[in-house]
Symmetry: C2
Subunit: 333 residues, 2 copies
């Protein structure tokens, strides 16, 4: 079987792989590995295609101890909705960490990315949210809005969810879906300010280029995870938030300073030159402190790492093999 | 069919796609496109895995006018031969240039790379070799030694081939194969110096880290294509050759100065600071001069470009569709 390549479709993946707490655990381990020097994660390969209003990113990471490493291709073709196609697609490959042979190709259209992205939010909530979260808020109404709340709910049993989106109809639909999904009342917030004021845990999930949350709105007992900015020019948080938070955490500093909220903060001069942000992995392995009191204000800036891809791809491969999903191809046939 | 993804195996590709002059033409067009500013080709993504004595490269390029763009994953796991596996493997994907949707995954184990790499040598011969080549020489005895001679033979009808390799048995086998393949006498050269002295066209195809060809051996009416160095630390040519050649040509300057013979020349101080090497694409589109007299000494430094991958992947896709090869997967099924 060593030479076989498993092709797995999105539908097959969806049938065996759902979001659950185990995926937060899996991604927590990826962050722990990232905190160790022996993870190898080259910078993201990024190709802008202005002609097509598109961007393609490729991520990878080698995590010692895992059987394979992922290479993930994420195209974003932002005119696709005009012709009825989703903007985001892509596929993920798993290569043997011992031989480099292709073990699997996941034709997942970004589904595995959705899961591992949500789980990074879950890990951020695990280590950074106040112990007591009564109300969680989510800004944005897409797939990640739903999944981020599901991932956070595995970590904090909040009693209510607030949703805000530019389109009230979408926000209502998202609130309904969340309510059905986690069984907790969810309602639409009038505006982002109200949402932040009431929540102890806020997740922003939008591709916003104008800041949605102002530094003035920060209050004690608050954690914010900003996962929407993954590209130069995007930014969901007032740059001053990075300066005002008690703790500002990055999934990967070298990525956040180019693609994340940290970039906006540096650009605005709100980030003290020479100050090093904490990495989530360092908190996971207890090398740096996470939240220390309920009152603190914490922020986590997520840009998405190849290590998360490698973690989820190995898991998906095991699940597919265990459940006999996918189609095997002889590598040399 | 727009949502279908075609999975094509190496065996299927080998049955429909052979090396021929059309592939030189195809890759010539890729170099022409590279000479135009509207090709988008990000730097190679490269991940070294010292634990596994391995390296993984990812290349891509968007060429306006082609239906798709390739993303190519090339793992090199150099301990594989110890367990009976080839060092080089990999796969290539073709994504729609309009929507980013995955059109095809070629489980080719590097076969398409072999073809497009040979064809770059073919294009170099087309524009740079003397018109009259009686003897061609090849240094190295692997797949590329055979294919580079085949690609060059499409451009210059030489009457004899000389082969040199570290293992005389491998060199003899390679000479036999070349003779059978192109129907021209091929024999083993005693050493590289003899080979260079007799040949008007020399191709070096090795992963050598010690230089195989000395500058002293250069003679009028000579073209050398060096395609083995694609990584820091490799180098087949005496660095002084870059200084002594009448014309030194790169497939891509930004790559050659990091990975190719140009790198060694710069490091050795043999390359005049500020002098800009000619790019092969500029010669193809007639923006720069190629060989101007039979007597000139020309050198072409090839590191392999994503543009070549995109060219061959589009071609392979057309061939596979036309010949009904490959297995179709519904993207969302």
């Amino acid at each position: 079987m060593a030479d076989d390549i498993l092709i797995v479709t999105e539908a097959e993946l969806r049938s065996v792989l759902h979001f659950d707490r185990a995926i937060n655990d899996l991604v927590e381990k990826a962050f722990a590995a990232l905190a160790n020097k022996d993870v190898i994660m080259p910078p993201i390969m990024s190709m802008d295609i202005p002609n097509a209003n598109a961007e393609v990113d490729v991520k990878t990471a080698y995590i010692p101890g895992l059987g394979g490493f992922a290479i993930k291709v994420s195209p974003g073709f932002f005119d696709n909705p005009k012709i009825g196609l989703p903007s985001l697609n892509g596929l993920m490959m798993l290569l043997s960490a011992k031989t480099g042979l292709v073990q699997a190709v996941f034709l997942d259209n970004g589904y595995l990315t959705d899961l591992r992205t949500a789980a990074a939010g879950g890990v951020a909530a695990r280590f950074l949210a106040p112990k007591k979260v009564s109300i969680a808020g989510v800004v944005g109404t897409g797939v990640q809005a739903r999944l981020q709340i599901a991932a956070a709910f595995e970590e904090r049993k909040f009693e209510k969810v607030l949703v805000w989106g530019r389109h009230p109809g979408h926000a209502q639909q998202c609130a309904n879906d969340i309510e059905n999904q986690i069984g907790v009342p969810a309602e639409v917030a009038q505006n982002v300010e109200t949402l932040v004021a009431q929540a102890q845990l806020v997740v922003t999930t939008t591709p916003a280029r104008a800041h949605l949350i102002k530094a003035d709105w920060l209050h004690p007992n608050l954690h914010i995870t900003a996962m929407g900015s993954d590209q130069e020019g995007k930014g969901e948080l007032d740059p001053q938030i990075a300066a005002h938070a008690d703790l500002f955490v990055c999934d990967r500093v070298s990525q956040c300073e180019k693609l994340g909220e940290l970039r906006s903060a540096i650009k605005a001069g709100a980030w003290l030159v020479g100050r090093t942000p904490t990495e989530l992995g360092d908190i996971v392995v207890n090398r740096s402190a996470g939240r220390e009191t309920e009152e603190q204000i914490t922020v986590c800036d997520l840009t998405g790492t190849g290590a998360q891809d490698t973690a989820i791809a190995n898991h998906a491969y095991e699940m597919a093999r265990k459940n006999n999903f996918g189609t095997l191809f002889k590598a040399n046939s």
